[in-house]
């Protein structure tokens, strides 16, 4: 749980396209992007990596692509 009691939204990423970057862009499917806003914290999940929280830093106008930053690297 997070975000004031709501279940935290999960965003799947391909770590082969991210590496150890702390800030990165990724495309979002419908279920990931509906209602998503800049500043929201999401749970980033990917194969063989512990889920990590990240904050939405930017979104394209259509919401299909976002820039995320892992919370450990951003302001709380």
């Amino acid at each position: 749980m997070g975000n004031g009691g709501r279940v935290m939204r999960e965003v799947f990423v391909d770590y082969n396209h991210i590496g150890h970057a702390c800030r990165f862009r990724t495309r979002l499917f419908r279920s990931e992007r509906e209602g998503l806003e800049v500043g929201e914290v999401v749970l980033v999940v990917g194969d063989a990596v512990e889920p990590r929280q990240a904050r939405v830093v930017q979104m394209t106008d259509d919401g299909r692509e976002v820039e995320l930053e892992f919370v450990a690297f951003s302001d709380h």
């Binding site: 770590y15 082969n16 396209h17 590496g19 150890h20 990165f24 194969d47 063989a48 990596v49």
Partner: protein
């Protein structure tokens, strides 16, 4: 992020290929391939492609370097010679990632066959419905299930 196709394959049969994969690899490999589809627009003239990332231990880049360059906790290794008759590999460099240039220079994409797939005109892959995504996952599944066992046993980082 941009995908650049390098001019030559640079691989021999005995070269080792490293794939990062965990317990959920079957599902996650297909999910990643679907998500990255549009990033491959224009590569070899296609509208997109379903691919799986691997890294080759060649040109002085070692297996430990490749493993350390990415955060996944598990990986597998296969010989190029065991893949090349079954899958097409593209020598590709992905820009704008956190992967060191030296390691990204040995990145390859294994292309998953997707015969019969046609993205409806005017639609983006990330706009597909859950049912359409499930059908796409089912289409890619057999190729993923053929590919991943070539990299077993799974090794811990």
């Amino acid at each position: 992020m941009t995908i650049i196709l390098r001019p030559s394959l640079e691989l021999s049969d005995d070269d080792d290929l490293v794939i990062h994969m965990g317990a959920g690899a079957r599902r996650d490999v297909a999910r990643a391939a679907i998500r990255n589809y549009h990033a491959y627009e224009g590569i070899r003239g296609g509208a997109g492609a379903f691919t799986v990332s691997v890294f080759a231990a060649i040109g002085g880049v070692t297996e430990p370097e490749i493993v350390e360059a990415l955060p996944q906790r598990q990986y597998g290794v296969a010989r190029h010679g065991d893949l090349r008759d079954r899958f097409t590999l593209w020598p590709t460099t992905i820009t704008g990632t956190g992967v060191p240039d030296r390691v990204m220079a040995v990145h390859f994409d294994v292309v998953l066959p997707a015969a019969g797939f046609e993205l409806p005109a005017g639609r983006a892959i990330e706009d597909l419905t859950d049912a359409e995504l499930a059908a796409l996952d089912a289409l890619l599944g057999p190729s993923v299930e053929e590919l991943l066992p070539l990299f077993l046993p799974r090794r811990a980082k």
